[in-house]
């Protein structure tokens, strides 16, 4: 079950400068755990101490903001694309 994940520049030092990586999981939370296994330290940048997604990061599944879906429990299927994007941009 492979999920394509787009990594923003500030996190690419965790992914050995790769902008795109493969992850696994049936929802966003599981995906984050799979990323942490492959790239230790990355999860703490994406989640706060309570395990909630940080407020200045947006997650998109196949271009849709997960806040319009099921948030961190949004289901993932093989072949989905998850984009991690800093919230502070544009305007």
């Amino acid at each position: 079950m492979s999920i394509k994940v787009l990594i923003p520049t500030p996190l690419q030092k965790f992914t050995r400068d790769q902008a795109t990586i493969d992850g696994e999981g049936s929802n966003i939370l599981e995906l984050l755990d799979s990323l942490e296994k492959d790239f230790p330290g990355i999860k703490a940048r994406l989640c706060d101490d309570q395990g909630e997604l940080r407020r200045f990061i947006n997650f998109y599944v196949n271009s849709e903001d997960i806040r319009f879906l099921d948030g961190k429990n949004t289901a993932l299927n093989s072949g989905d694309e998850v984009s991690i994007v800093p919230a502070v941009a544009g305007g």
Partner: protein, 435 residues
């Protein structure tokens, strides 16, 4: 009279900014092309040496500077003494007596960036700063995610500066906004999607292409350009701050930077401190910041935009929470208005003050009216409404809501008949209103 703007050879004096700092956690960074904190993803802000500014900048030194935003260069994040100066800024601050009377205010001013240079919106301010900094950081291609005005400005100023340019816009923008970009011959990507989708795509492109995106990796520098809307109003009011400002809210950046501009002028002793109320304007069809303000929330729930006010249709506003915070702590308000009210706002400003603004300006005027009617602006307050864009770019919005020409023959009697008919129509309209 306008002076000729001649490029001179580049030289550099000591910059007054020292680096970047996370607005959330305080982590510090070098002044490079980065926009978010690596620790917490909070926004990065430019840090200045205010002690030096206090010692070296005076009202006189500013007034002796160029007739553009670059008279405030010491407060802007560039190193060069020869920034890209296409005459941006120092737009009129008009005392709007007829509109004030209509609304029941005593001292109302319009800051008219509908006539900003070169592309007729406030975006010329932020782009002049961003592209000057882009050049300093060695970028040869510049880009942006835009609702229209920013694309116009980035393409125009990039053309002047000789920078390659590729801009991204939603594919359903007004014709004037698209043409007003294409004329400068950049590459234009018209994306099937709303602005928030365009913005997300640009963030992804910025990960892999080494371009200077003015509102992404150059955003800390870019956004500082909006402070000049604060500085200019203070200077044009005779070196004092107004009591109340009303400005449109899209990402919320403009709003927060006008606030920062006023604060900085107080901090370095250029104006006296006084409370200024900050009120924001949104279109009901895209009002995530107004909703958060109304509900007393400290987070923004994103929305999918559906409004004629496309230039401010950002459903996922980056600085939304900061705008809510400023409105709250200054005892201001954030209000939204319907598309119909926006059209009425555009017409009201045109008919009372001779200023043709776009939908964002119509939103601002409609919110101004709504706030006055609700008793939320004191008639005695010196109030400034920020008009940020030009109506000729969004003609679709008012088509069908304005009068028509009287087509006549080149003969006196044809004119007389048409004139008589026009007078009758005017009387009928007048009767309709008063009955």
């Amino acid at each position: 009279m306008t002076q000729a703007i001649t490029p001179t050879c580049s030289r550099t004096t000591a910059a007054t900014f020292t680096g970047l700092k996370c607005k959330e956690c305080g982590a510090e960074y070098e002044a490079k092309a980065i926009h978010v904190c690596e620790e917490c993803f909070g926004p990065l802000e430019v840090v200045y040496d205010y002690e030096t500014l206090r010692r070296t900048v005076t009202r006189e030194s500013i007034q002796a500077g160029p007739h553009s935003i670059w008279r405030y260069r010491a407060f802007l994040p560039v190193e060069t003494d020869t920034p890209i100066d296409v005459g941006t800024g120092l737009t009129p601050l008009l005392q709007a007596n007829r509109l004030a009377r209509r609304l029941g205010l005593k001292r109302l001013y319009i800051k008219n960036d509908a006539v900003n240079m070169p592309s007729l919106s406030f975006k010329d301010r932020v782009v002049s700063v961003a592209l000057t900094r882009a050049r300093e950081l060695g970028f040869t291609t510049v880009s942006c995610a835009s609702t229209g005005n920013l694309a116009n400005s980035t393409a125009a100023i990039a053309a002047h500066a000789g920078l390659e340019c590729c801009v991204f816009i939603p594919s359903d923008l007004e014709a004037g906004k698209v043409l007003g970009t294409l004329i400068y011959a950049p590459t234009v990507m018209a994306v099937h999607g709303n602005y928030d989708q365009v913005n997300r795509l640009c963030s992804e492109v910025a990960n892999t292409h080494g371009w200077g995106f003015v509102n992404i990796n150059l955003r800390p520098y870019y956004s500082e350009g909006s402070k000049t809307l604060g500085y200019e109003v203070a200077e044009q009011l005779g070196w004092q701050l107004p009591d109340h400002i009303v400005a449109p809210l899209a990402s919320g950046s403009l709003f927060t930077k006008i606030y920062k501009g006023f604060q900085e002028f107080v901090k370095v002793g250029l104006v006296d401190e006084k409370p200024v109320r900050f009120s924001g304007a949104q279109a009901e069809g895209c009002s995530p910041i107004a909703q958060a303000f109304r509900e007393g929330r400290d987070f923004i729930a994103p929305v999918k935009p559906n409004t004629i006010a496309k230039s401010i249709a950002i459903g996922n506003p980056a600085d939304g929470i900061y705008a809510v915070d400023i409105a709250k702590k200054t005892n201001g308000n954030i209000e939204s208005v319907t598309d119909q009210e926006i059209i009425e706002g555009i017409k009201l400003l045109a008919e009372t003050e001779g200023i043709f603004t776009e939908t964002a300006g119509g939103t601002t005027i409609a919110v101004l009216k709504k706030l006055v009617e609700a008793g939320k602006i004191n008639p005695d307050e010196t109030t400034v409404a920020y008009i940020t864009g030009n109506g000729l770019k969004t003609q679709e919005a008012v088509q069908g809501y304005i009068g028509e020409t009287l087509t006549i023959e080149p003969k006196l009697d044809s004119f007389e008949r048409a004139w008589e008919r026009a007078q009758t129509l005017e009387r009928l309209e007048w009767q309709e209103v008063t009955v």
